[in-house]
Symmetry: C2
Subunit: 228 residues, 2 copies
């Protein structure tokens, strides 16, 4: 946990503190703490009280939720600038979702009361915040609808392309989640996720060894994602 007042240099500052005055930034700085989490560590527990306004500085996380039957559902993934941690912050007093680090992740937590105080007196700041929240939730809703339209193969293709293009910007990457987590994300069983991946390998669409994945036939993968 660090508390140095170096927010002026923070890469994320421009995004949603863009309109904040030096005074405001100073206030944020004095009320923030940074935390680092290892792969697999839980950052936010579903049901816990929302005390801080949290955003990602670096790393990768998943948002998930426990169903009444005990099975987990993964709602979405987020990297810095996705601001998923904003969800619920203004509509609920407790978190609806669990947030887990999928990689070494650094977050910045600002005392929520301070943010709210600024928001109340600074419409420009609040509006910027709202735009971020809105963008993040829009993305989640649209992505869920996309997945829902596809069949098993289409969903797997979608997920692989999502990580390759959106998260890693590379056709070769290390998958940050297990087969079971893919299943929890796309709403299918682990076995069928594995079967489909194996099939993609057999058809020379993908190469993989464990979590090391490489897309061999991107065109076909895209076609499967869209029409499959």
């Amino acid at each position: 946990m660090k508390n140095e007042c170096n927010c002026e240099l923070c890469k994320l500052r421009s995004l949603f503190f863009f309109h904040a005055s030096t005074d405001v930034i100073k206030l944020m700085c004095e009320n923030k703490t940074e935390h680092q989490y290892d792969k697999g560590e839980i950052i936010i527990y579903e049901g816990s009280e929302i005390k801080d306004f949290i955003y990602l500085k670096s790393g990768l996380v998943k948002l998930s939720r426990k169903g009444t039957d005990g099975k987990d559902q993964i709602i979405s993934f987020a990297k810095p600038f996705d601001f998923v941690s904003l969800l619920s912050v203004f509509s609920s007093s407790t978190y609806n979702y669990t947030v887990t680090a999928l990689d070494e992740t650094i977050i910045c937590a600002i005392v929520l009361e301070k943010i709210k105080a600024v928001a109340l007196i600074n419409g420009e700041f609040t509006m910027g915040l709202m735009t971020r929240v809105s963008e993040a939730t829009d993305k989640i809703i649209l992505n869920n609808l996309e997945i829902r339209r596809k069949n098993l193969k289409g969903r797997i293709a979608h997920v692989i392309l999502y990580f390759a293009h959106y998260i890693y910007n590379n056709n070769k990457f290390e998958l940050p989640i297990s087969r079971r987590e893919i299943a929890e994300y796309i709403g299918m069983t682990t076995e069928n996720v594995i079967r489909t991946l194996s099939e993609f390998r057999k058809d020379h669409i993908l190469k993989f060894d464990g979590k090391q994945i490489e897309i061999e036939n991107e065109k076909l993968l895209k076609s499967i994602s869209e029409h499959g």
Copy 2:
């Protein structure tokens, strides 16, 4: 289209203009128009430019979206106070969704620029707005996740209970949507929706004639919704 300045009496005012001064309300009033839509009429076209801030005064609407394959997906339903029309308003310049009246519906449209102008200078107002947006999207996301966890029967039970409890507050009601629309909402085929409804009738869980529906065995229906 009406333009009388009677916003002081508007039932919805308290909800999100709660913190607005008399001046602000006057400004809103002068820049608003009311429209009435019949059952089936489209209120907002997907892809059209967002010029107004729109909210429901009365009635019932559905939010939907055309998939790339031409099939429609229903995202959610909304009655007054649900503020679904807020979606995208601050994150996009065009609507991502189509909004259709399912019943005689009255909306109030306020020139978006005016709202934004107020939001910029009035943090309290903006914060109230953000809370509403956040609540509305949270509800949509959670509901979609719920539906996704269930099988065909569970989804049908969920939808029936949703209309009975959330929309109509009555175990006897007139279904405002077609069987096909139920299918588009829960992501199953029309035939299977019908089959399941027929089965529920045979098992004395539901009584219905066309769109007139009555829940006969609520306990069982709830159980199917949760565990089915």
